[in-house]
Amino acid sequence: MGEYFILAISCILVNNILLAQFLGNCPFLGTSKRMETAVGMSMAVIFVLVMAGLITWIIYHFVLTKFDLEYLRTIAFILVIASLVQFVEMFLKKSIPALYAGLGIFLPLITTNCAVMGVCIINVDKDYSFMTALVSSFSYAVGFGLALILFAGVRERILLSRVPKPLEDTSIALVTAGVLSLTFFAFKGMV
């Protein structure tokens, strides 16, 4: 149990997928302008990442390894993740309309999110067991949500302050993301 906890801390804070590994930057900048969208995006990522992490783990270990085709994992994962997102969207629309209405527009956006892809590849690269892969996928997704929501809060405040004209909007967002990333480096060495 203890090692899962350490893994979770490591995935959420120390190796934060956004601020330490720099994956998933497009939704990080794109959906962080408003707190509402940031929360919606975080939820969608948690949902999809857990599903994708498990399915790709299964595909890798039971299909690709069996036929010695590990070098195909990237293209296979793309295919699987894209289909998965489509499937989940259809499933939610029919079965849980409330959740679909909440996540609706964010689900297709994650189809090619590199954070999702990255976590799946980390899972197989580090030879995680099925349970470990589940914990790591969930924790990475929570870390993504944490960073995104923190960042959205900061950006909402930036909107109210005076920013030099040439630095407005995306420029100041990138500068802020850099500073935020530096603060997360303080967690280095914790685990």
Partner: protein, 688 residues
Amino acid sequence: MTGAIFVMLGIGAVCGIILSAASKIFYVYEDPRIAKIESFLAGANCGGCGYAGCSAAAVAVVEGKAGPGVCVVAGPDTAANVGSVMGIEAGSAESRVSFNKCEGGLRAEDKFYYLGAMQCNAVNAAYGGERECRIGCLGFGDCIKVCAFDAIDMGPEGYPVIDEKRCVGCGACERVCPKNVLEVVSLSDRLLHVNSEDDALAPCRQTCPAEIDIPKYIRQILSGDYEGAVHTIRERNPLLLSCGRVCPHPCEDDCRRGIEDESVSINQLKRFVADFEMNSGKRYHISRAPDTGKRVAVIGGGPAGLSCAFFLRRLGHGVTIYEAMPELGGMIRYGIPEYRLPKKTLEWEIEGILNLGINAVTNVRFGEDFDFGSLAFEGYDAIFLGVGAWSDYSLGVDGETLEGCFTGIDFLTRFANGENIAAGKRPVVIGGGNTAIDCVRTLARLGAEEVTLLYRRTRAEMPANEVEIEAAEHEGIKYTFLAAPVRVVGDDEGRITHLEYLKMELGEPDASGRRRPVPIEGSETLIETDMLITAIGQRPDVSFKESSPKLKDLSITRWNTIDNQPETLQSSIPYIFTAGDSATGPSLVVSAIGDGRKAARSIHRYLTGKPVEPPKKSLFKKRIPESVFDSVEGVRPKPRVKMPELPVDERLDSFVEVDHVITEEEALYEADRCLNCCRICYDKDAAA
């Protein structure tokens, strides 16, 4: 290798099978009309409708959130098709086109030499676009690049020119422009715009009661686009021929050239293009919005009523004018004499307004020949009241009703109506306003030997136009100032023989800021006369109010004018709107025209279910403080063009028009004197 291909095919096939099975299992019923409507939409996904793409727009139509005319790209056919899917009438969707608020002109020096990307947005972000005017175009053409319909081009003067035939009103250019120069508006929006604090307004444009875009039409005259100038004026003033002749042009008092030099002769330029259209032998096409099916009754065919009817018609409403006199025109037909505004000219102008599809019924007086009940029976959606101020004030002295005594408007009206009134040999006119001047000049033309104008203050306080006072002087009118009539003396047969008046002197200033005349004791003087016209002011005749109990709630001010909200012109009864002399008391023609348009705006809002309220930040009778200058640098004085006039000795035999139109050469010279205020732009050429 083969294994890899098979595995990938296998994964792909499994994914495909699962997805296709899922689409069957998890099928959610979707309204088939959505797909049908989407097939009719343009498919450009431009977002001009305000929805995220065409499919979102189709969903909005099916859900009833958007009308069949939701697509801004496709034409009326699409709206009809979409309407047929939904089983509803397409109605009238007015098309919107991009409109360039900045028309270039001279360019200011740039403050910042920018070397980066040559883009409006980049230059603007780097402070390069900072200039005096908040609106002006930067001229790098971001709007041209973004237009998907190839409807914008860079014009020869360095600002974008819009091809209205190609523009679909998607709004892409409006969104990309960092300087707020481009605006996607419908014709109605343009006609309804009221001067606001955020507009770049030249001083003349702020002063003009009709809010005409003066610098724009002067610029159009200078470039030889007389038709464009006429259209610019018609967006604010339908009576340009009449105004070009009789307007006392308050705009010229505020002209910036006037600070260092003589002001630009704005009104003569207006008259020049107006006459140019009339003499060209054809009428320029006046565009208007599609019919809305609403109907409005306009009571009173004077300048306010004609203006209101004109703009309501251009907004697509059906209008009927009811006029008490035999002909339309109101005070400008019956109060302004032939030598200032020939009836033929006026008729040509009114005909042009009626040609838009406005009905007119004449010789019917509100409250007598028809009343509120008959209007309700006809089913009008709103009523405009512009009945004017036609009741003369009387002197209130003894002997006023003797034979030979007239009142000003009564005299001018009867004369204009063709009645043969013999002028006296030594007529006296009392009053100092334009009506009094019109009376004396008319009498001079009727063969009176000596015409006297009696006014209780001095010439400096006369409210009449200065040019009119001077012209009357040239025509031999005798002025007697500081004289107040006290008694009219008659003979045994009841005919007037003398007028007795008291001499006055000026005392302390009164509420109007003019020095109050005080009588001098024992200075009674007799003046021999055989005809007396009293022209000391008029007020509206509101006796129609008694004709219907429903008008009981119409509130009347203590000056006998119809009470209204000064900015929206809505009366105390919500569906009655009022403007012109009947709402303000006797005032300028151009004020009545301007208020007629504002009333049309309020009526349009009332008919389309929007709250009847003044626009936010409206510049109602205020000035933009930073636009008021004490001095203007670099103005080289150039004399103002002279008004061509009929020689005095030819004037008095007839009622031929006295003031003539300037020549084309003079008009171009005068247009070149305009300083193009508020049309100065950032220097694109220096930055390029």
